[in-house]
Subunit: 584 residues, 2 copies
Amino acid sequence: MFRTHTNGELTLENLNEEVTLSGWVQTIRDKGFMVWIDLRDRYGLTQLVFDQERSSENLMAEVKNLGREFVIQIKGTVIERASKNPKILTGEIEILVKDLSLLNASELPPFTIEDQTDGGEELRMKYRYLDIRRNPVKNKLIFRHKMAQKVRNYLTEKEFIEVETPVLIKSTPEGARDFVVPSRMNPGQFYALPQSPQTFKQLLMVGGMDRYFQIVKCFRDEDLRADRQPEFTQIDCELAFVEQQDVLEIFEGLTAKLLEDVTGNVYGEFPRMTYQEAMTRYGNDKPDIRFAMEFVELNELVKGKDFKIFDDASLVVGINVEGCADYTRKQIDALVDWIKRPQVGASGLVWIKYQADGTLSSSVNKFYSEADLQLIAKKFEAKPGDLMLILSGEEQKARTQLSALRMELGNQLGLRNPNEFAPLWVVDFPLLEWDPESNRYHAMHHPFTSPKPEDIGLLETSPGEVRANAYDLILNGNEIGGGSVRIHDQKFQSKMFDLLGFTKEEAQSQFGFLMDAFKYGAPPHAGLALGFDRLVAILDGNEVIRDYIAFPKNNAGRDVMIDAPSSVSELQLDELQLKIVEKA
Amino acid sequence: MFRTHTNGELTLENLNEEVTLSGWVQTIRDKGFMVWIDLRDRYGLTQLVFDQERSSENLMAEVKNLGREFVIQIKGTVIERASKNPKILTGEIEILVKDLSLLNASELPPFTIEDQTDGGEELRMKYRYLDIRRNPVKNKLIFRHKMAQKVRNYLTEKEFIEVETPVLIKSTPEGARDFVVPSRMNPGQFYALPQSPQTFKQLLMVGGMDRYFQIVKCFRDEDLRADRQPEFTQIDCELAFVEQQDVLEIFEGLTAKLLEDVTGNVYGEFPRMTYQEAMTRYGNDKPDIRFAMEFVELNELVKGKDFKIFDDASLVVGINVEGCADYTRKQIDALVDWIKRPQVGASGLVWIKYQADGTLSSSVNKFYSEADLQLIAKKFEAKPGDLMLILSGEEQKARTQLSALRMELGNQLGLRNPNEFAPLWVVDFPLLEWDPESNRYHAMHHPFTSPKPEDIGLLETSPGEVRANAYDLILNGNEIGGGSVRIHDQKFQSKMFDLLGFTKEEAQSQFGFLMDAFKYGAPPHAGLALGFDRLVAILDGNEVIRDYIAFPKNNAGRDVMIDAPSSVSELQLDELQLKIVEKA
């Protein structure tokens, strides 16, 4: 037996017990006549003591050969520590070692195995197995497991059945790019890895499975932005005989439960906001509502005062930044520079300061009188001490830019506390969005999303105005999930494919099986998918998902630890009847 | 709201309640003035009644338009049935319908949605979504979910952490054939889909994760035998600081718990048997021990009696079939034909009948006297009424053939009751097996398996005799899992790759990351993987796994429902820099 206890559990209650422990050497303090070792495992640290007076000569010699990250097993007696460490559970005891076995030596690790390591991102990824020994990474993986267990238990209690859908499926050019898998048994043909189990979960509804979920790997062959992974995990759900309201209630319940577990607070009904309202109030379909700074539209107050920039703009819109009237020139210039960066792309910023003494000053004093500014300040509901920031231009652009500025100020002013949580439903998304490139409408969510019944009449006349029964779950400014009520009528689904520019043949070859299924009594159904990697990161007070994935890939889609992808043998390619073509 | 109740819950306790139900029309009995419909959903059946006297004319007209598998919603009152059905929970009530909405019509399904369907395998697979509506398939998927939940909860209680390992990994030519995935971002390079997370779980042990599990999809591009799937699910586990005994105890506990849940019986310690013993007693490394019929070796009793076949054989071995001395000539001929089939390949069978009157007769009376036969019968511990069946030939072949015969007789005699469970550990597997084709040793389990310490000396001299710390979990004659204590010493792992014929370069390019990891303090570790599809099937009293997989593939690796694999566009191939080569 390698151990009687872990390194995280011995206390004064175990005093004088003979124990066997195993683990890694975290630190060695060698005073010559006495040596202390912190022995580490997944569960904690236990202090070992080797003492010239109480330990054998051999043992004292052996311990001198140990180094950091050596794996050892010891037998010894639990004794009370002279100087206690109240910060850890095992801090009142130490082990007087009688017997030491070296289980494995270690070379000097390429970075320190400490909470704060000296290893950079690249090195940590190459030696991910060492990185995982560190508490911050280890704890994130354990947290992820606990959340997955809670999700499964919650959904199981609600009569959901986890069904495994296939990984080797069929490529559909719609949406993002698929990873494909050549089939040796069917040469020249390919499977695709699923971007989501969408069609399979809908087929399960046709199959009467009623309440399905799956925590499932999905795949997208996209050029990776920071913090995007080619394989990612979804909590994927679908329900039959439900309306939007039923779906929202169940997953509000799930999210509230996870939040309660994490914070200890109770989360009641989540606020709901239409897409239109979110865009108007925050310029963003995933607003962070932990702080206000809502958009104030100023067209009727600022136009016609000879300020050409505002006169030419289709929208003049601003936010009131509370308590920031004392921003210096330098601080304001920094904000101007920030919004002029190509990532934001605004051309300038107008500010109005509501001084503490009640007077108003602005960057556009030339055009606006004190009385004008008073009216504007009133519209902002500003108080003395506040700073109003105003952008203008084409409506959509101005909103997007102001939203970026709002989020940046939220960060700068510490209004985005990662341990405070503000969930929100955004509902009534547009069904379609115009794609100028292909000169046609695309499904904003996916082609299976159902329009709101009252908007169906608009499909022929103003497709862009049709709202969908589609909803997103937002947490702290992040979209953590989304879903919709689906189309379950075969004829209507077929019409939707027409509208989206599919030829009959394309629709049939890609989704024929789904439309066939709809002929045999498809029930009304709706669903939702949550991005599990991101959800876990946010619940744990982080926004970087990489550390919540045991073995992530880098931005080039590579696993630098195992060095994948890699070349394969000629034999493998021959069997697949494939040839690599060098690009000209 | 689509329903206030499911179709599986209303009883006399709900009498006179107004309810809303939704579901599929299972059956319609139309007596003209009265119509009964069985309404079905995942939860059960509820009888609806439409009655000329109590229902409106409109309603009576509408109900006449319904057909099987139509999806409807009804509102009505729970009333007591005149003729009750005690077989179902809802059998004492029916719903007097007031209101009927057609949610979706259905074409006539291609097979009946009944427990016993008229649909053949191929049709059922093409319309799998309809097949899933049938109780036998639906219940199997629900059973699978329940087992997965129990596994996760058991392992979580035991401090295991479920960690998701990557699906896009690196191809290693060792073992079965990999599915590969071309990388667009790294042209000419490929990911592979994992045959198991073996190396990753070992890296997690190096990472201190200590107790890992995962219910995970694995992939093998093999020519499919019946009931083999290119993608399958494993319960994959690994533990650090454990010995073989610890692993066996934990997974014995898990299996016993699942068995207890299924049968209500208590399962104590599982029997253990060495590989050698299993081969000697049953000719098989996965014996079904629900019945005895153990092998009896007869060389010393049968040789030297001028029966050339036995004299020439390296092994003469038989089984005693209790109570079958009255087998007719025809029955015995059938057995002879059975073992002569190419799948078994025996050349003949010797029988000895221990007649009820105590006399002995045999197919080799010419060579063996009554006294000889008495001695043989004694060795068999046969009783009057028993039938002894004897095979001979090359030792390994004779054992394998007799094992096949033993299993066949087990089936024929009803000794393999699928609802009786006999788990068994087979331990001490050989580390290596000789492969005459490549003229070298292969790892019997995999190259990471550790030899038994006491056998390490044999590695140089008699590699074939080295036993491994490897173990299989057997249930009713099926291998449901296997594992081993791993090598954790870098130098020894490297030596093992040498022994298995890897060049240094091959070992480095394929497993360099693992050997690197072993340099930094790898703990002793061991693991196990259980085939989840098969485990679930056997626990549910079946051996066919296909129905426990929601969307299985056929023997050509095709999903006939979605028609995958399929061709991909030229654009996709171009982006991957691949070309399909027509075979000459």
